[in-house]
């Protein structure tokens, strides 16, 4: 191969990489749109706000962390809803109107922080532990042993 052709080959490779990245980005956005139709994180009908959360799977357990600002710690409830679905609810320190958060075009009030989270692997709900520190709830669920 002549030296003059090398840059051309590099350019094509870069182009291909750009196409791959664009494809990845588009498929991510498509999946995001399909899985999460556009809706706000708050719901005045349910009077709740959905919190930020993270789910991580360790070899022995599933750890869920949930950001729960502005809640009464003694009202935090964590319960299984289905075999692979968990619900977390907590009462807020005081009811807020959307207007208090800068949303002036919606009437109503928000009293709870609530979310439902799908669990990626089977867990033992009966051995569930949770702890609330510095405004973050950490739920630990041991994974079910597989045969």
């Amino acid at each position: 191969m002549s030296a003059s052709r090398r840059p051309r080959r590099r350019d094509l490779l870069e182009l291909l990489m750009e196409y791959v990245e664009e494809l990845e980005r588009t498929s991510e956005e498509l999946a995001e749109g399909l899985l999460r139709p556009a809706s706000p994180c708050w719901d005045v009908r349910d009077r709740s706000i959905e919190p930020l959360r993270q789910v991580s799977v360790a070899p022995d357990e599933v750890i869920i962390t949930v950001d729960l600002p502005f809640v009464k710690p003694e009202t935090i409830r964590v319960r299984p809803v289905e075999e692979d679905l968990i619900e977390i609810v907590a009462e807020m320190k005081k009811a807020l109107r959307p207007r208090d958060l800068g949303v002036v075009h919606v009437e109503g009030e928000l009293r709870h922080i609530r979310c439902r989270t799908r669990l990626p692997v089977p867990v033992q709900f009966e051995a569930m532990r949770f702890e609330f520190r510095k405004g973050i709830l950490e739920v630990r669920l041991p994974r079910k042993k597989t045969a």
Partner: protein, 241 residues
């Protein structure tokens, strides 16, 4: 950058962009309010989503510059799309060059997995030039000797190094995915020492829970962009020691 009024040269520029824990955004918003800074410039870019931020019913750019008293603060109210990070960083540094910035200080976070165990987040730093490292040492800020930085602050630091501009990144230990007003207070404490101004962060700490609630949506959108720019690399153990 479009200037709303004449911006005098030779000022210190403080930057707060959405990143881990929204540390920079929370800190700079508080700084703007406490120092009573006014909007002096804004970013006009087609690389951002078609957004107008409304304040008092009037439209504004999501990326604006506030200033007064020898300090300019660059602040973004929305997540920076991963594809816009490089051009935005370049635009900020070019503008700082054109204004003869005396020092550029980015306020940031450094994610730590055990953040809940830390009572008071510590602040670490990196600099664009060896002489700027001296500023960190002077104020007792431990230097991030090795590791990986990802995102706009990484590029701003690199571009400043290329142009010989003195720049610092101050990073407080923080949550990766949750807004962290305590980390913002830590980083503001160090900034106040460097600038020689008084910033009472008590109010920021008191309003912490409310700020976390309000910052929820910007954090969520920032998380998505951070995933696109592979931000989790900041947890990586450095290859060389």
């Amino acid at each position: 950058m479009v200037e709303r009024e004449e911006v005098p040269p030779g000022q210190v520029v403080v930057i707060g962009l959405p990143d881990v824990g929204l540390v920079g955004v929370i800190a700079t918003q508080f700084l703007i309010e406490k120092l009573g800074l006014r909007e002096v410039a804004y970013l006009r870019s087609d690389l951002f989503p078609p957004i107008a931020v409304l304040h008092g019913g009037l439209p504004h750019s999501p990326v604006r510059v506030f200033g007064d008293k020898g300090i300019l603060v660059v602040f973004s109210e929305t997540a920076v799309p991963a594809g816009a990070v490089a051009p935005l960083s370049r635009a900020i540094v070019d503008w700082c060059r054109s204004k003869g910035a005396k020092l550029i200080i980015s306020l940031s976070g450094i994610p730590v997995p055990n953040r809940q165990d830390l009572e008071r987040p510590s602040v670490f730093g990196a600099a664009s030039l060896p002489e700027a490292l001296g500023i960190l040492r002077k104020y007792g800020i431990e230097v991030l000797e090795s590791g990986i930085m990802v995102g706009p602050y990484a590029l701003i630091l690199r571009y400043c190094a290329e142009h010989g501009l003195p720049a610092l990144v101050l990073s407080a230990q923080c949550f990766f995915s949750y807004p962290d007003p305590e980390a913002a207070a830590s980083v503001l404490g160090k900034l106040a020492e460097i600038l020689g101004v008084k910033i009472d962060v008590e109010e920021l700490l008191e309003k912490g829970e409310e700020i976390r609630l309000r910052a929820r949506d910007v954090m969520m959108r920032t998380q998505r962009e951070m995933a696109r720019m592979k931000k989790a690399q900041e947890y990586d153990i450095p290859l060389y020691v």
